[in-house]
């Protein structure tokens, strides 16, 4: 579904990604793990065209090279950004409405809203509350719900567990699992290696802008380097 071929990206003179190639197949959930500053967020920003990149990015065989950032979502890619980035002074429902901003999404707003509310009943309770007043876990639900409002094929999740209490992290990971079961393809970036490897099919290890290894979740959980560097075993 999503293919990256030799993607490089830089911020000024600092190169953040070096020839990254990866693949996400339809129906799969894939994680990109790695330490702080490895380029994980940059990778998702590159896919969403929020930064300039070189190399090939294609969605369902169609190149995103000449696609501006605001049209990427029309190709079925929806991005939950780092730190959730809700609109704090809009209500929960208005935030969800922004997720359905595309003209082709507006007609199905009511139907999708119902779906998001059935997925997150808490959001229905809080629908007219300002998003800035939600708890961290609720904000993450709202951010994921907002990204689902466009009816995407591929969901990009940037550190959904960041800044959340351990028990909330657990429920967010359950949620990611459920979203995969609903039929969404997911590419998730995480520092919380142990927990994310429990919910995804495959993973790539990204270090200092380069893919260092990849495999199924089970393989990576067993691999010596990952056990030592990221799981503390």
């Amino acid at each position: 579904m999503l293919t990256l071929r030799n993607v490089s990206a830089r911020y000024g003179s600092f190169q953040a990604l070096f020839d990254v190639s990866l693949e996400v197949n339809a129906g799969e959930s894939v994680a990109v793990i790695g330490p702080n500053g490895a380029g994980k967020t940059t990778l998702l920003r590159a896919i969403s065209k929020l930064i300039d990149v070189s190399g090939g990015i294609a969605m369902n065989g169609r190149s995103l090279e000449d696609v501006p950032a605001h049209e990427v979502i029309a190709h079925g890619i929806s991005h939950v950004p780092e730190n959730r980035r809700l609109f704090p002074r809009l209500t929960v429902e208005e935030n969800l409405k922004m997720g359905a901003f595309l003209p082709q999404s507006r007609g199905r707003f009511a139907e999708r809203l119902e779906f998001v509310y059935s997925l997150f009943p808490r959001m229905r309770e809080r629908r007219s509350q300002l998003a800035g007043t939600l708890s961290g876990g609720e904000q993450q639900m709202c951010a994921i719900g907002r990204a689902l409002m466009s009816g995407p094929k591929l969901l990009l999740l940037d550190e959904p567990s960041a800044g959340l209490a351990p028990v909330v992290v657990q429920s967010i990971m359950e949620l990611v699992k459920r979203i995969c079961r609903e039929g969404y393809t997911v590419l998730i970036v995480e520092q919380n290696v142990r927990q994310v490897l429990q919910v995804v099919h495959r993973a790539y290890l990204l270090e200092t802008g380069r893919i260092k290894s990849s495999g199924t979740a089970a393989e990576l959980l067993d691999s010596g380097t990952i056990r030592k560097a990221y799981l503390g075993l």
Binding site: L50, R85, F87
Partner: protein, 288 residues
């Protein structure tokens, strides 16, 4: 009622009428600052262009007044969009002082252009309306019309910003500019739309002012400073604060003018403004 009480009540009601007009004046400027983070120092000059547009179409070309006014709103809306596209957009990432200087340059350009095109003589539409008498009080008809239309304009803007996708997106982009593309919204397009709305509000204000005031190339200087001060008083970029500040300012001008002299009303309003700036430099409802 005592004669004094009646005159006081009349002054208060006149203040409310003026408040509606000032609220409309400040809304466009405030909206643009709140969303794009740029102060259009030349905002009142757009109003001046709108007044000339209505005058030229109605008096020189003989269009019906309402048609001339509708065209005036449209012309200033387009002018607002062009101002953003060609003047603001290139300096969007520049220092605030540069943005201020650029729009300040547009102010003098528009004044000079109007002087060249229309000369310095005062012009007016020549519309005369009988005052409206309520009991023993009397009110100017253009002021009542201005109040009603201004309230309708503010209400329409509110409904647009809260009920439509594009309006909600305009509020959203004022809170987080970088991630708007992830929603499928083109920030450049939202900024142009916001600027056109700001222009349309200036055009609407022009239609109301042209019924009450003579037109000349420097007329913007009569409204510009007070419009800007109202926005600052309410909390720059805070739309509700701007509306509240407009009505407070109008009462100072109207009631203060009643107790002393009309010029004193303005003095009191500005003294109040300075006092508030000491007490709450972020404005009455400003959060920062």
């Amino acid at each position: 009622m005592d004669v004094f009480d009646i005159f006081l009540l009349e002054a208060v009601l006149n203040g409310i009428l003026l408040g509606g007009l000032l609220a409309l004046l400040s809304l466009g400027l405030n909206l643009i600052f709140g969303v794009i983070d740029v102060v259009w120092i030349c905002y009142a000059e757009l109003i001046m262009i709108g007044m000339y547009a209505v005058y030229m179409l109605h008096v020189q070309l003989g269009w019906p007044l309402l048609a001339a006014m509708a065209a005036g709103v449209g012309i200033v809306a387009v002018l607002g969009a062009l101002l953003h596209q060609f003047i603001i957009r290139p300096v969007l990432a520049a220092e605030p002082i540069n943005q201020l200087l650029v729009t300040g340059g547009v102010l003098f350009f528009l004044q000079a252009a109007a002087t060249l095109a229309f000369g310095i003589e005062f012009r007016n539409l020549g519309v005369r309306m009988a005052p409206v008498a309520i009991g023993e009080m009397s009110f100017s008809a253009p002021r009542i019309i201005a109040f009603a239309v201004a309230v309708a304009g503010v209400a329409a803007t509110y409904l647009f910003l809260t009920r439509t996708y594009v309006g909600t997106a305009i509020r959203a982009i004022s809170q987080d500019r970088q991630i708007m593309p992830l929603m499928g919204a083109d920030p450049d397009r939202l900024f142009v739309i916001t600027s056109a709305i700001g222009g349309a509000l200036a055009g609407l204000a022009a239609c109301l002012l042209v019924l009450q005031y003579d037109i000349h190339p420097a007329i913007g200087l009569s409204f510009g400073p007070i419009t800007f001060l109202i926005c600052v008083l309410g909390g720059l970029g805070n739309l509700v604060g701007g509306l509240v500040a407009a009505f407070i300012f109008a009462q100072f001008i109207s009631v203060g003018g009643f107790f002393f002299h009309i010029e004193w009303g303005y003095v009191l309003a500005f003294v109040f403004f300075i006092a508030v700036m000491f007490w709450r430099p972020q404005g009455i409802l400003g959060g920062k």
